[in-house]
């Protein structure tokens, strides 16, 4: 704010509010900030089954393998990943190195 100087306490508080709400508005128009995902689980619908433009997963925004395996093995994320605890214990048996052979993981039909 280069043309106006808030002088009294009230004006300074008002300006702090304006500045804060502007910062929030700016944040929404920029790239989302790097989020710390909890290991093994996530609260957002992260890419788990997509490929990048070259058909691999290296270009995706985060290692999908982390989701794939951690949800499968440790925390049961039923919507996206077959659960390895009760229903599909050998789902990934065909896949030794997911960065390369993820395509060999088959669908699971409940």
């Amino acid at each position: 704010m280069k043309h106006i100087l808030p002088l009294n306490q009230k004006a300074r508080r008002l300006w702090a509010m304006v500045a804060q709400s502007r910062q929030q508005a700016v944040a929404l128009t920029q790239d989302p900030p790097p989020t710390e995902y909890p290991f093994g689980c996530t609260t957002i619908f992260a890419p788990g089954w997509e490929v990048d433009s070259s058909g691999g997963t290296n270009g995706l925004c985060q290692p999908i393998e982390r989701d794939l395996y951690d949800c499968y093995h440790t925390c049961y994320w039923p919507a996206q990943v077959p659960d390895g605890v009760t229903n599909a214990p050998s789902w990934t048996a065909s896949c030794g190195a997911p960065m390369n052979d993820w395509k060999s993981i088959d669908l699971v039909f409940p």
Binding site: M1, K2, H3, I4, L5, P6, L7, N8, Q9, K10, A11, R13, L14, W15, V18, R22
Partner: protein, 478 residues
């Protein structure tokens, strides 16, 4: 979109810097050339189209940016913006903070201008055969303390102010109230602050010792030096009272300084023909040693010989602005100054106070009559029309709320378009009652004076900020 500058007051300091006091928020802003142009340029009743204004500006990008800031700060707003609904009352019952006990309505002086006895009194005359209690009993004083403590909700501190008549004519009630308050407040873990107003004629060594021991905030009604004091503040015989009070005041001030008590204030009633407030201020602080001096124009119908005429108000304002020079000089050097009217105004300006009601009467403050009846404030307690219950039976919340609703500044048509509204809110209820017979009316006979005084406060505020930017930190609360 059509935009318009909201209700405000623009002013300049002696260096030509522009400022604006924004009424809806009570914010004070300094403006550079461009921002000043915008605030003035959009100050048009029907508003101005923002795109046109910006396009015609020499530097459209900067104008757009500054305009955006002013819009976000609420200085320039869309013409058709829906106004927030008229401000409401705070949640009722509002917890009490202060009780003013009229411990007596007798006085040992006969000041010619006094509203308590003179033609401007509002006390309801006693009915034939009705006996009025002119001294508060110790029981009533104690019941008042109970009432205050139970009506103050979560407040950690409450205040008791003793008033009269001449307050010290009933010293036993004061002592009883204080002793009882100390004991009761401890039980509910509250602190109590005491204050009193007196004409000083009854300040004995015993009284001085008591008041300073309990750290009373003391205000002395005194009009100035012997010449001033003795014009109106006289004994029943007509003789002046100065000679009797002077040594007592000196003793009180000396004892209070020794004991590091609270500041002692003088309250000067300004009447027609009074000496300049500058001389009076210098005498009271310099010679007698008062810490603060507050000046109040006399409350009186316009035809009283002591009432200030228009000329009197104008002179008073001119004298106030001379005294403000002293204030600025003291503030620049980091020293407090005792001109209480200006000090209070500067604090309110700095904090950005925004009042819906002119004072705490009926809200955080109530008066108690000698008989224990509750009123809006000490000036209303003898008026049956304004009775709000009693300390024994409790407060008439319905009547209280109805009064506060009606007295809200949003109901005072003239005040709605007044830039000084956040500070004045229509002015004293008692003054309005004396003038118009209706306590909820705005004191329109005062407006010129109020606005002039607020202008003086704004200019002084800007000057002090330049001379000593840290001066106002003393008024900051978080």
């Amino acid at each position: 979109m059509r935009l318009r500058t909201v209700l405000h007051r623009r002013f300049h300091d002696e260096h030509g810097t522009a400022f604006v006091y924004v009424t809806p928020s009570a914010a004070i802003l300094a403006l550079d050339g461009l921002a000043g142009q915008l605030v003035a340029g959009f100050d048009v009743p029907d508003g101005v189209d923002d795109a046109d204004f910006v396009a015609q500006h020499a530097d459209p990008a900067e104008a757009r940016r500054a305009l955006g800031d002013l819009v976000d700060l609420g200085v320039i707003r869309p013409v058709d913006e829906v106004r927030p609904p008229a401000a409401q009352l705070p949640p009722m019952p509002f917890p009490l903070a202060t009780l003013v006990l009229n411990v007596t309505n007798k006085c040992n002086l006969s000041c010619t201008y006094c509203y308590e006895y003179g033609a401007d009194k509002i006390a309801t005359p006693a009915a034939p055969g009705e006996k009025r209690v002119s001294r508060m009993t110790e029981d009533t004083a104690r019941q008042s303390i109970d009432f205050l403590l139970r009506s103050s909700a979560e407040r950690p501190q409450v205040s008791i102010t003793f008033f009269g008549g001449e307050t010290l004519l009933n010293f036993p009630a004061i002592r009883a109230a204080v002793d009882y308050a100390e004991q009761q407040a401890k039980a509910v873990r509250k602190r109590v602050h005491y204050s009193l107003t007196t004409n000083a004629t009854l300040l004995t060594d015993e009284v001085i010792d008591f008041l300073t021991t309990h750290r009373f905030g003391i205000t002395i009604s005194i009009d100035g030096d012997a010449g001033e004091q003795d014009r109106h503040r006289v004994w029943k015989s007509g003789a002046g009272s100065f000679a009797d009070m002077e040594p007592r005041i000196r003793k009180l001030i000396a004892t209070n300084k020794e004991r590091k008590g609270r500041p002692i204030g003088a309250r000067v009633t300004v009447t027609r023909g009074a000496k300049s407030v500058i001389d009076t201020y210098r005498f009271l602080t310099g010679d007698l040693g008062f810490d603060e001096v507050g000046f109040a124009p006399v409350t009186a119908g316009p035809d009283r010989t002591w009432a200030l005429g228009d000329q009197g108000y104008e002179n008073l304002l001119a004298e106030f602005s001379t005294l403000a020079e002293d204030y600025v000089a003291a503030a620049a050097a980091g020293r407090a100054h005792g001109f209480a009217n200006l000090g209070d105004l500067l604090r309110e300006l700095h904090q950005g106070i925004h009042k819906a009601h002119p004072c705490g009467a009926g809200l955080g403050l109530l008066g108690v009559s000698t008989e224990g009846e509750l009123g809006l404030c000490h000036r209303f307690v003898e008026s049956k029309d304004h009775a709000l219950g009693s300390v024994r039976k409790g407060l008439d919340e319905g009547k209280r709320t109805a009064f506060l609703e009606q007295a809200h500044v949003d109901h005072k048509t003239d005040c709605r378009v007044c830039f000084a509204k956040p500070l004045c809110a229509g002015g004293c209820y008692h003054e309005a009652h004396v003038r118009y017979g209706d306590a909820t009316r705005a004191n329109l006979h005062y407006c010129e004076w109020i606005r002039g005084f607020v202008d003086l406060g704004l200019k002084t505020y800007a000057r002090i900020l330049r001379a000593n930017p840290k001066f106002f930190a003393r008024y900051e609360s978080s």
